[in-house]
Symmetry: C2
Subunit: 408 residues, 2 copies
């Protein structure tokens, strides 16, 4: 598989985070000779916040995390790639319990402090023995892996590892936020998962962290789409070890939160965009800005309707400034729109005004613009103050090849 | 463009319908030397019923029909292909009024009795003069065109004309129902329209006809999808001239309605399937049967979620019995589902039971089945009595080629 044209030229230098110990290994669950198992061990007092797929056929690991997030205490994270352990019935559920129990026993923590994810093929039983053997090896290696190795171990059809780091100053101390992610579609071919894990040393109450994360996800991960298909295993988890030497944040009105919230949002956005930029078969990265909708929710729905339209996506792949299809996608969203107030810009060029294409419409500069690798589509609905920003990629022959032609 | 593998080997013999006079011509609106303008003239007392796109950016012709359907009196239908006259602003609206007025004047009827459709490129002004000249020629030719020519005149990227005929006996008289349709996707490339027109000699009150049509559409045209994109111009109209020699149907409980309703439903289904079978880039025709959902609406939503999933559609194109993607699509629909009650069959082969793949799962017969041209997917949600049947096609390289590579 060829590497995405948007793969970063170099990887960021990821600093250590106090209270986080990483280990990776090759368990051979599906891939031969490839890192496929990640364990993170956290210091006492670490809290976890996160969001999980809304799919009605969510995997056992997702339901396990949902349960443990209620208290949000964290001691360990275990992630395997190559097998999603989704739709594997009672046996799959037992695997999740067995693995959680085994890891808890080895690390001397509660099962309620263990977080799990599995990513890969749906419907195949997870080979538990290989997981146990892998965990035995990981135990000896805690603290030896880099974030870059961790990001590699969770990849499936990703064409590059995705990671990001940011820091902010609070009370004269440096607070660090590291993140890794995987995903090559909202769901990858044959695989099923978008995963992201963030780690920070900020001391913060779990409930406050959960609130920040939920809000930030809505404007970042919930605004990306590759193919509109939602995975059974989508998971974003943020772990805060509290090891930074400042007094803990226990009030959501604490003014020190602002600096952290800013880097949290930026980082989630960066990781979300990294997933789109590795979207299956991507040749163009597309930003869709909607404004003037009746409300935020309406703006997002309109933006996603454009971003998920196969006709809009194929037009972009064909470098065709086919704005008629954008009109169609706005119309099919079901949200309020008034033809005579709707305006569209492509790459800053206005194409419509007052319900028709602009006077002296000239397609030449648009056609030229469409040859670029990054495409900006702006839509003003003209009815209200709702805004949204959505990120997606085009729909290419390579998407079909990856998903239709290449199954073993 | 290559003809769909599902194109019929021979066209049906379409009988005359008393009170319907057809005419077609080459107006040169966009296509050179091709039939592109259809006029149907109806005898006095003809009523019309129909359904129109729910798009919020519907075309002027659609809004014109919506207005005239309120009374449902019909004297004429005019349809052009090559230009959708959609999103053409005040000028486009004026075109609709001008054309409606011109045709009404020539035929000596009310503008409220004229029905119009336009199909083709979105956003380009309609060349009115060519329409007027075409109408002048059509006037001289009323009653000279066949249904086959009518079906050809409304084609855009269709690879074959779509028509159907059925009859039933009521009070010893033969009642005939003819239908023509066009469409190569819910929206065709660069074009925007699924159109269908039915003609019958049944004498029936407009309100009763409208009720029958609305109900039938919900189980036929509203259950097909090629790419999930909804056109700005989707239109289904049924014209009843009342020329058959039986006493008129004025009561919706009239037992004679049953025979007509049966052929109406069958015909709408046949025409709807003809559109899917000419879906852009189709290589496989797919039927999705959902049962056991919480209700009818839930069943339909689950069926459409499967039918519109790019990952399910590409798997089918790749002849891959990838039922994990069906699970994913059920899960993302948002409708109630319980993993342990969900069951899936592909081509009659059960693949899952009790939340996991069946004991002794064997992919060989499934893989063999997927090589066929028609694919049946059955899903039992196991929660209620809601059922739905959805028809779609696969997502192939040809779809991408048609929509990305081939714009002038």
């Amino acid at each position: 598989m060829k590497t995405s044209p948007f793969a970063p030229k170099k990887s960021p230098q990821m600093p250590e985070i106090k209270g986080v110990q990483l280990a990776v290994t090759k368990s051979g669950i599906k891939y031969e000779g490839r890192l496929d198992l990640l364990c993170a061990h956290f210091s006492k007092g670490t809290v976890a916040a996160g969001t999980l797929t809304k799919s009605k056929t969510a995997s056992g690991a997702v339901e396990w995390c949902r349960e443990n997030l209620k208290r949000g205490h964290a001691a360990a994270l275990i992630v395997n790639s190559g097998n999603a352990n989704a739709f594997t019935g009672a046996r799959g559920e037992k695997s999740v319990e067995d693995i959680g129990g085994y890891l808890a026993k080895i690390l001397g923590c509660q099962t309620s402090e263990v977080y799990q994810s599995s990513t890969g093929v749906i419907g195949e039983p997870l080979p538990e023995e290989k997981m146990f053997q892998g965990i035995d090896r990981l135990k000896e290696k805690l603290g030896t892996a880099s974030y870059s190795e961790a990001a590699s171990a969770i990849m499936t059809t990703d064409t590059y590892p995705k990671m990001a780091t940011r820091s902010c100053m609070i009370d004269g101390e440096t607070i660090t936020l590291n993140g890794i992610a995987k995903g090559s579609g909202m769901i990858a071919p044959d695989m099923a998962t978008m995963l992201a894990y963030l780690f920070t040393d900020l001391p913060i109450e779990q409930k406050i962290l959960q609130k920040l994360v939920s809000k930030a996800i809505d404007k970042t991960f919930n605004c990306i789409t590759v193919d509109g298909d939602t995975s059974t295993s989508d998971t974003v988890l943020v772990f805060a070890t509290g090891k930074a030497n400042i007094s803990p944040i226990t009030d959501e009105k604490d003014s020190r939160l602002r600096a952290f919230n800013r880097i949290l949002n930026k980082q989630l956005k960066e990781l979300a965009l990294a997933i789109v930029k590795d979207g299956e078969g991507i040749s163009k990265f597309v930003t869709i800005k909607v404004r003037g909708a009746k409300g935020k929710r309406a703006a997002k729905k309109i933006g996603l309707s454009i971003a998920n339209s196969p006709l809009v996506k194929t037009a972009i792949a064909g470098e065709d400034p086919n704005w008629g299809r954008i009109i169609m996608a706005v119309g099919k969203s079901g949200e309020a729109a008034d033809r005579d107030k709707l305006n569209i810009w492509i790459g800053g060029h206005q194409v419509t005004a007052e319900g028709a294409r602009i006077e002296g419409y000239d397609e030449a500069p648009l056609a030229e613009y469409m040859k670029g690798e990054t495409i900006l589509i702006e839509v003003d609905i003209g009815l209200g103050r709702g805004i949204a920003e959505i990120w997606t990629c085009d729909l290419t022959h390579d998407y079909i090849s990856i998903n239709a032609d290449y199954r073993s």
